[in-house]
Symmetry: C2
Amino acid sequence: MKKLSTILTVSAILILSSCSPSGEHRQPTVAADPLPSWNEGATKQSIMDFVTRVTDPASPGFVPEAERIATFDNDGTLWAEQPLYFQLFFAIDRVKALAPEHPEWETQQPFKAVIEDDLEALVASGKRGLLELIMATHAGMTTDEFARIATTWLESTRHPTSGRPFTDMVYQPMLEVLDYLRAHSFKTYIVSAGGIEFMRPWTEEVYGIPPEQVVGSSIKTSFEIRDNGSVLMRLPEIDFIDDKAAKPVAINSHIGRRPIAAFGNSDGDLQMLQYATGGDHPGFALIVHHDDAEREWAYDRESHIGRLDKALEEATAKGWTVVSMRDDWRRIFPWN
Amino acid sequence: MKKLSTILTVSAILILSSCSPSGEHRQPTVAADPLPSWNEGATKQSIMDFVTRVTDPASPGFVPEAERIATFDNDGTLWAEQPLYFQLFFAIDRVKALAPEHPEWETQQPFKAVIEDDLEALVASGKRGLLELIMATHAGMTTDEFARIATTWLESTRHPTSGRPFTDMVYQPMLEVLDYLRAHSFKTYIVSAGGIEFMRPWTEEVYGIPPEQVVGSSIKTSFEIRDNGSVLMRLPEIDFIDDKAAKPVAINSHIGRRPIAAFGNSDGDLQMLQYATGGDHPGFALIVHHDDAEREWAYDRESHIGRLDKALEEATAKGWTVVSMRDDWRRIFPWN
């Protein structure tokens, strides 16, 4: 991410916007471009063709409104995931805050790596290690208390390279896809390996996706009666890791319908994309390929975070839509 | 359930309806009774008072639309559960169909009881035993195949005493509550110990509750790639039993919000009612008490099915709404 190029891009967009006939002053009879941050081309067209195919009543691929389910991965698909999964920054801050109560963490990975600021060792502990770290630091409070802790952290912490709130690190083109699908009566869901209760407090405001449409990894909870009411306590035990082949399982459990469109960016999303395209309806699968080292980050087959290897092979073999962030996205973030 | 009394009740309702000024011919300026199958009285009033309290913007108990979550138990709350849970009739038919492939069932409970038509031994095996029976007979096919099997069975099988389709054995007064709440922007959910995939194929048509708003017990599933697509296989392993203290846990997992209203009929619903009434909002809890041996069934503290004991104590202590089916419901089923 280079700041100069960002500034140039922002300037270019501002100039383009002020000259453009599109926008609020347009005649209402002219159809607005629903995906203004997408460059014209095959990628953008594939999204619009799919929506037309399943929503035009005269189309053989027409899908009734109730069955228009679209599922989105979060990390790397709706918001950025570099230099670390954002929830991991949260977990790191929690580990440091809780470390005085946990002397055993000084010798125990991945906690040791966190306390010693050894990000390389942390990333090397893998997705499952990272999830365990997250789970271990997210327990011991009620669900309501956890939502408050997560919200407070998100409001007070900034992304290390952009200096922006983490909720600003969302992809403008994907926000447009969410809106576009919902305008065509799709129900949009998040299906992420991220913590379900870490996402739910803010997804409605940021993505327009309410808590009940967020699916993610979880730790166990226990129902308890208190003097002044009842609570769910968060237990230090993993309940479900919503990644790879578990994504279709979680989709079936939470939604009970097969999605007809799925959006991901890594091998962790492969099975979700296979599920969306493996049914009777014409399914749509899209992969966001991080290939823009100038405006965002470039990584795929060798990355510890958001590794994209097998899913890229399958996308090519199956003709899925692969988004080049560099070529297909006019802008990356809403503040560009 | 006595047929003569049913006929008399039906006749009385038909006579009353034809004399009544309410109905479709009313002037649109006169507010319709949203709960016409409920007799006037404290029970009906408590429902309407609650809805007014949380939906009137001037009320101190006002709740924003997005937080108006209402959860309903299914067996004994939305539809009948006698002489056995209806899903158990389905399981019984499945056991008999599959028995030739399972010689070990001849000596193994609760399968032995099913094969020998020993309903008493079956009921005595308890809710958990019954659930295990259900789970064991519901595996070995894809989720799509299971939905078709369940749908076919529901369409072709009749309730043993009423001779009606099982989906006719739903409570008209509760259908009206569902509609009434939805008309006031509540989102209505089923949270049942019944099988989630047994309910989902029909709850939208019967209750207006779509699959994604159905929460229930589940067996594990496994994602598999097939030549012509992808499927979820149902495995003979219990994943989650959505009963008692697990109901708040499942509500949090699936919905991510605390309900402000909950409806049940047995001790299996107690924790869900405690959860709905244990938060910051004014929560509403309602128990359907089966005390109408004439028109339905009468059972509570001693029943193997739908035991209502502790929850009835707590309802009295906490001032929850307890519905007397005999006194509060003008009619029971839609076809009365």
